[in-house]
């Protein structure tokens, strides 16, 4: 063993150097500071002998790695990482062991960590505490945002219920539309925020109907050509009511209102645009709205069995409906059904209808 290598280490009182000897021993090459005997209690095999099997468990575990260091790998070094040992006088002490091959011999260096390490500990302590505070703040913000969202949602749905009370759009219907659309949007990979937006925006698709005179909106029989023409202004009325804003959810609602009667083949109204020109949100709503209207009973019609509804809608793929969106709708039909049965007409609605 190189003398100067050892001499360098010898000066330090926080290091003990040992070399591999006959199993199960390591032989101590440097004086033993007091702390060393807190670690290994006593040198069973005679002075300077460290019996691997009697070492602290952490160190024993490290020996397994150390003993695997090939003797040819001169200079290679592995570290145990830090471990903590309780001492009578000082309480918790921190140690680290390193193993290296020197002159073909396996050398073990045990170091008691000093002030540098205490500083590092302090830094990490502070960093972790700060992280906890940040985490808590984030949690609070998220929760508050959720509460605000829920409040918005409640306000929107109540106003909608009030505005739709005259005609057949029940509050349960508009809520279901929102939930169906959110489900489809999720399947299409939309962001959380956009999914929230469509859930709130979709229920407003027919809000323009509050601008349609009652004698047309509530007319029991067939509408005349002129009456139809007025009825067909509801998408634009709604878009105007909701538009001209920089609130994303209202922007989306305005666009949904404007385009929800467009058809994929361009035969819809008010603009007669088709395909991808119709905003995706409106293409989703068109499907959700038709589905929900058909499977439920209305004043003027019976409920249609769901299978028939889906067949009828399938026949409209590429004509009324976007093929990809309809496919996606079908792929989440189980969730759609669950939403449907969990959101039937509620007390709130009956009150408003009374």
């Amino acid at each position: 063993m190189n003398e100067s290598f050892l001499a360098g280490l010898l000066e330090s009182n926080d290091i003990v150097v040992l070399k591999k000897s006959m199993r199960p021993y390591f032989l101590r090459l440097t004086p033993a500071p007091d702390w060393y005997f807190d670690l290994i209690t006593k040198e069973e095999g005679g002075e300077g002998c460290l019996d691997i099997d009697l070492a602290p468990p952490f160190l024993q575990n490290f020996f397994v790695d150390a003993l695997q260091l090939p003797r040819e790998s001169e200079g290679a070094q592995i570290s145990s990482g830090v471990w903590i040992q309780e001492s009578q006088e000082e309480g918790e002490c921190y140690f680290e062991a390193k193993s290296t091959v020197h002159g073909g011999t396996l050398v073990l260096i045990i170091k008691k960590l000093g002030p540098d390490f205490v500083r590092r500990h302090q830094q990490i302590q502070v960093a972790r505490e700060r992280e906890l505070v940040n985490e808590k703040l984030e949690r609070l913000v998220r929760q508050r945002t959720l509460e605000v969202r829920q409040r918005e949602e409640e306000i929107i749905l109540r106003l909608l219920a009030a505005s739709g009370a005259k005609d057949d759009e029940t509050s349960a219907h508009v809520r279901r539309i929102g939930l169906y659309c959110a489900e489809v949007a999720k399947s299409l990979g939309w962001s959380h925020e956009e999914i929230d937006n469509i859930r709130l925006a979709a229920p407003m698709h027919d809000i323009g109907k509050i601008g349609i005179p009652d004698h047309i909106l509530l007319k029991p029989g067939r509408l005349t050509e002129d009456e139809w023409a007025i009825m067909r202004t509801h998408p634009e009325l709604g878009a105007e009511m909701l538009g001209n804003t920089n609130i994303p959810v209202l922007q989306m609602a305005s666009s949904i209102s404007l385009y929800h009667h467009e058809r994929y083949d361009g035969s819809g109204y008010p603009l007669g645009i088709g395909g991808e020109q119709i905003p995706l949100a409106a293409r989703i709503v068109a499907i959700a709205d038709v589905y929900d209207a058909l499977v439920h009973e209305r004043v003027y019609k019976q409920a249609v069995p769901e299978k028939t509804v889906l067949d009828m809608m399938q026949a409209q793929v590429g004509k009324h409906f976007d093929p990809v969106v309809f496919q996606t709708f079908l792929s989440c039909i189980d969730q759609i059904r669950r939403i449907c049965s969990a959101n039937q007409d509620d007390r709130h609605n009956h009150l408003l209808m009374a």
Binding site: P57, F58, N61, G81, V82, I84, Y94, Q125, R139
Partner: protein
């Protein structure tokens, strides 16, 4: 005497050290003193009437400052994945840790320990979190290092599984 190695795993500040201290020394401190590295404690328990020496490896919490060395898990007989019910992110960390365990430990006995049950009114696990726990296939035990609730039990149950 039989020796059995048990590791405390989880992200930082979930109460790994506190659980060990409660179990071994019957004490608890409100002050957070983060563990750097590893501390091994011993405690002798009875299992089927025979004494077993538990080696409790309290390992620094895995987070952005620390990655657990796989070498520390060598000889593992069982482990506790600790999460803090008031911190949903700690649950995600526990699930991640479990899925990162080497295949050799796939069948090693373990529990998900939801700690800080004394703060139950501040727990904020959502239905989605409960679902995550179920699909990760955990057996869950809720504990409090502060009151001692279920602490003894969680270790005893683990020892029963190990033997």
């Amino acid at each position: 005497m039989k020796q059995r190695k048990i590791c405390m795993l989880g992200t930082s500040s979930v109460g790994k050290t506190s659980l060990v201290r409660r179990f071994v020394q019957s004490v608890f401190s409100e002050k957070y003193h983060t563990t750097l590295g590893v501390k091994v404690d011993k405690k002798i328990v009875k299992s089927d009437g025979d004494p077993v020496c538990l080696m409790l490896w309290d390992i620094e919490g895995e987070d952005r400052f620390y990655r657990i060395k796989q070498n520390y898990l060598r000889g593992l007989a069982g482990y506790l994945l600790v999460a803090d019910g008031t911190r949903p992110v700690s649950l995600d960390a526990a699930i991640r840790l479990k899925s990162n365990m080497a295949s050799a430990f796939r069948d090693t006995p373990h529990f998900l320990v939801l700690n800080k049950s004394d703060l139950h009114d501040q727990w904020c696990l959502q239905a989605a979190d409960i679902k995550k726990i179920a699909s990760a296939g955990f057996t869950v035990i809720s504990t409090s290092a502060k009151t001692g609730e279920n602490v003894e039990q969680v270790f005893t149950k683990l020892v029963e599984l190990i033997n």
